[in-house]
């Protein structure tokens, strides 16, 4: 079953990779080194990445929200 929440990365992501290391689901990758990409299917919305992000560009959203 999918979680009710998921993480979303904003356009100001600096691709530092801090979120990558704390994701318990391995749902984040930094393909091409431009921006963190979150696999919303894997993401459980725990918020660790958002708490870790030094740029503060990760938001936790309810599924169904944009």
């Amino acid at each position: 079953m999918q979680s009710k929440r998921y993480a979303s990365v904003g356009a100001r992501c600096v691709a530092c990779g801090c979120c990558l290391k704390v994701c318990p689901m391995g749902a984040i990758d930094l393909k091409y080194g431009v921006k963190a990409n979150i696999d919303v299917q894997k993401c459980v919305g725990c918020g660790r990445c958002a708490n870790e992000c030094p740029a503060g560009v990760i938001e936790i959203l309810q599924r169904g929200e944009k």
Binding site: R12, V14, A15, C16, G17, C18, L20, K21, C23, P24, M25, G26, L30, K31, Y32, G33, V34, E52, C53, P54, A55, G56, V57
Partner: protein, 198 residues
């Protein structure tokens, strides 16, 4: 795969030690500052060769050092980094400022090389304060070699101090948000990425 088990330590997890060693060596002999060129060129080379931001993600000693200060030594207030820090205006503005200061440092080296200026045995902190550092140079290298070392060490020490200040005030790696090397490597990655991924 979920990262449920306790993460295994890798050799690069210990790279934080490079920062205090580098700054420590430069305290005793300024010529060691030349080693810092590795930290300048390696990220750019890795990004240009298609490794993305692997340097920032895994190998950046300063990032790991700031992480250590913030998370293990708990010196960080862990507050949210202000939004303006991640704005393109500030990030690119700081990059331009940093590059101008770098060019000025190279020009100073040239002036000493051409004997138009004498060697200044000082470390310039925050691009403003000249701190005497004469014990770290014993005349064993040409003056221009030492001038470059003093200039480069000034940049490295200043940027580390800014990083530490930001670590204390905000999140441990808030320096990474506007680190000029990170901005440059991200620019290279943007250029290299396929159209839809930019």
């Amino acid at each position: 795969m979920p990262n449920t088990a306790k993460a295994k330590k890798h050799w690069y997890d210990y790279l934080w030690i490079v920062t205090p060693i580098y700054l420590g060596l430069g305290f005793f002999n300024i010529l060691f500052a030349w080693i810092g060129l590795v930290f300048f060129f390696l990220p750019l080379i890795l990004s240009a060769c298609g490794f993305g931001k692997i340097y920032c993600n895994l190998y950046c000693d300063r990032g790991r050092f700031l992480d250590l200060l913030g998370k293990k030594l708990h010196i960080s207030m862990n507050r949210k980094t202000p939004k303006w820090v991640s704005s393109p205006v500030f990030r690119y503005g700081f990059l331009i400022f940093f590059l101008i200061m770098f060019i000025q440092m190279l020009f100073n080296t040239y002036l000493v090389f051409s004997s138009a200026k004498t060697l200044s045995e000082t470390v310039k902190l925050f691009w403003t304060f000249n701190v005497p550092w004469n014990w770290a140079y014993n005349g064993s290298a040409a003056p221009w070699v030492a001038q470059f070392a003093f200039g480069f060490y000034s940049i490295m020490l200043t940027s580390t101090l800014i990083g530490v200040i930001f670590t204390v005030l905000f999140k441990p790696r808030s320096w990474c948000v506007f680190c000029p090397m990170g901005t440059m490597t991200q620019l290279i990655c943007r250029i290299r990425a396929p159209k839809g991924e930019k």
